[in-house]
């Protein structure tokens, strides 16, 4: 049992405990935020020190490979950005700042574990660690809207967990093991490929994990929860929690259910088409920017799922790397873009105290840099060069073309055109509308630092994506 492999997660948990303890003794609460952000360097350093290892520990339950290390860094960077954007926002719940940071860190620990466990019980517990922390964070404001969002998120999350568990139980009943490797071996050896229970198990697993990535039919929690949750947590949900869901899906479906890939790739293809269309069409009617970005994130999950559908249709069981690596690359681009958009919204909404798109009218004159940054992120969400979103879409669409999913690409391109309408509307309101007041909208240093990082990332990935592409390809090479 090699505890060193668990060092990033352990240090993150220790950091959460340190923050809670500091909270008891320190009067100046801004220190807590600084400690949480600075402390993330420790797990990041452990992750980088582990870079290149490919080992398992805890009797094969924990695996440290390029995939899990990539996602460790992914979650740490997005957690750092979320914490940076929370520092100002956290004044809204003055008494509970320490608990807020600790819960964000514990959620990050759960997400990192989701990407690095290969055993159903551990996956479930890691998923629930993330879930319970996020339920509490969603209801953190304790006003009616936030509490309702928290309750809704918790109830639907618990239903999704129950469905997921039923699927896991069926898989366990068929194979007699919860280890992903053992499941794969049992499925291929005992000729269970055509078993109805296995198919049912797959459907239930897709539904249960689908809640995390907000796919149809488990998407209805998104708008209300995104609207009611504290805005930094909305950003966290839309990026990190979604990425964790994709990581765990890649892990479970490719490692355990690879032999029956034909069964589930078609499910994901159909769900991808429905999800992106629903997200984009409903987003058009939204007047609240957080709700609009909620539906936009549903649509983006649809594009991401194209990566899950691109399993070789020619040869059963043979899995190419271009679909998954495109998915991982898309996730990174989407994360920077969406975090950037949300940080800009946090900065603006904090001052004007409204999330209505109409109140953003003429914002370009009141906060030129913030508006420019938000516009850049929205352009990247559409997928117009020279932004990260463009490269991500090119890469994932070409993977789908390679695998013969032409119809799905056509649907996705039509969707991209639809989506341009509502993203550009926000930009038009900001740059062409008449300002509602002459008052400037200032922002804090932490927010500006986080926003500059995100926007720089969006531009760099849009112009020079090759380094990240190599890393993404290395990350998914682990899958057999």
């Amino acid at each position: 049992m090699n505890l060193y492999l668990l060092a990033p997660e352990i240090s993150l948990c220790a950091l959460a405990l340190v923050v809670i303890l500091l909270d008891l003794f320190i009067g100046r609460k801004w220190i807590l935020g600084a400690v949480s952000i600075a402390g993330l360097i420790v797990p990041a350093a452990f992750t980088i020190a582990l870079w290149g290892t490919n080992e398992t520990s805890f009797n094969g339950m924990l695996v440290v490979d390029q995939f899990s290390l990539f996602f460790n860094l992914f979650f740490l960077v997005s957690t750092a950005l979320v914490l940076l954007s929370s520092t100002e926002y956290a004044s809204k719940f003055a008494a509970f700042r320490g608990e807020y940071y600790a819960l964000v860190l514990l959620a990050a620990m759960g997400m990192m574990l989701m990407a690095s466990t290969r055993e159903l019980i551990s996956i479930y517990i890691a998923l629930e660690l993330t879930g319970i922390s996020l339920y509490a964070l969603t209801g953190f404001l304790k006003d009616p809207k936030s509490s309702e969002a928290g309750l809704k998120y918790l109830l639907l999350g618990a239903v999704a967990s129950a469905v997921l568990l039923y699927g896991m139980a069926l898989v366990f009943g068929l194979t007699g093991t919860t280890h992903l490797e053992g499941i794969k071996a049992a499925i291929s050896a005992e000729g269970l490929l055509a078993s109805p229970a296995l198919l049912m198990g797959i459907v239930l697993l897709v539904a249960g994990f689908g809640f995390k990535i907000a796919t149809v039919p488990f998407q209805m929690w998104v708008p209300d929860v995104y609207e009611g949750a504290p805005t930094p947590i909305t950003a966290y949900l839309s990026v990190a929690s979604k990425a964790a869901g994709f990581a765990v899906i890649l892990r479970v479906f490719y490692e355990a259910l690879g032999p029956v890939s034909l069964d589930w790739s078609i499910i994901f293809a159909v769900l991808a088409a429905i999800t992106m269309t629903l997200g984009n069409v409903v987003a058009i009617w939204q007047t609240n920017i957080k709700r609009m970005l909620g539906y936009s994130s549903i649509a983006q999950a649809g594009y991401l799922m194209i990566g899950l559908a691109t399993v070789s249709a020619l040869e059963p069981g043979a899995i190419g790397s271009s679909g998954p690596s495109a998915l991982v690359f898309f996730l990174a681009c989407y994360a920077l873009t969406n975090l950037g958009a949300f940080i800009a919204i946090i900065a603006i909404s904090n001052k004007i105290d409204s999330d209505e798109i109409s109140d953003y009218s003429g914002m370009a004159r009141r906060a030129p840099l913030l508006s420019l940054a938000l516009a850049l992120c929205l352009i990247s969400l559409i997928g117009i060069p020279p932004t990260a979103g463009f490269m991500a879409k090119i890469y994932i669409f070409s993977a789908a073309v390679d695998y013969g999913l032409i119809w799905l690409v056509i649907v996705a391109v039509i969707n991209t055109v639809i989506s341009a309408y509502y993203y550009l509307r926000v930009i038009r309101v900001m740059f062409l509308g008449a300002p509602l007041s002459e008052e400037r909208v200032p922002s804090s240093g932490a927010l500006r630092a986080a926003l500059s990082f995100a926007c720089l990332g969006v531009l760099v990935l849009g112009i020079y994506p090759w380094v990240l592409l190599r890393i993404a390809e290395a990350a998914v090479r682990m899958f057999p």
Binding site: A16, F58, N59, A95, Y100, L103, E119, I121, S122, E190
Partner: protein, 165 residues
């Protein structure tokens, strides 16, 4: 012996289904909570039939003792009994969804060729579970440790949410 187990199963199954129906169909939420506790108790009986003695005990302790009491507390604290628990407008779709799911599951269960082994589990299971949880060779130590972090997150979350501002 065989006969006795069969009778016990049918009786327990009937009580479980009846109690579960009472939970979701009744209008009085306090009564529903009591039926839920009854349901938990009889499920412990099913665990005994399946020779999972330790789990039966844990079922009574956690579900009846902790979860049941928590739910009853919440009902009393929020005085929800007065308002009752009517069904929403989605009653018919819900019924169809439930029946459809049941039909699919029954088909799946009956048509699948389960790999049943003849071995009888050793009793009592308590030391076996301890072995399965903590042994260095095959133990579930990792989920056990994550569960510690999960309970910490739940405690922090619950305290923050319930405390006054």
């Amino acid at each position: 012996m065989e006969m006795g187990i069969a009778i016990a199963f049918w009786v327990l199954a009937a009580v479980i289904i009846g109690a579960a129906l009472a939970v979701v169909l009744g209008r009085n939420i306090f009564r529903a909570a009591l039926f839920l506790v009854l349901c938990f108790f009889t499920i412990a009986g099913i665990f005994v039939i399946l020779s999972a003695d330790f789990l039966a005990g844990v079922q009574v302790l956690i579900y009846v003792g902790a979860i049941g009491v928590l739910i009853i507390f919440a009902i009393m604290l929020t005085r929800e009994t007065q308002r009752g628990s009517p069904s929403g407008r989605l009653r018919l779709p819900a019924l169809i969804a439930g029946l459809l799911f049941l039909a699919t599951m029954v088909f799946v269960i009956v048509s699948t060729d389960w790999q049943i082994v003849a071995e009888i589990p050793t009793e009592p299971t308590t030391s076996g579970i301890a072995q399965a949880l903590f042994s260095k060779e095959e133990g579930f130590v990792l989920p056990f440790e994550i569960a510690a972090a999960l309970l910490l997150a739940a405690i922090i979350g619950a305290i923050v949410l319930v405390r006054e501002k």
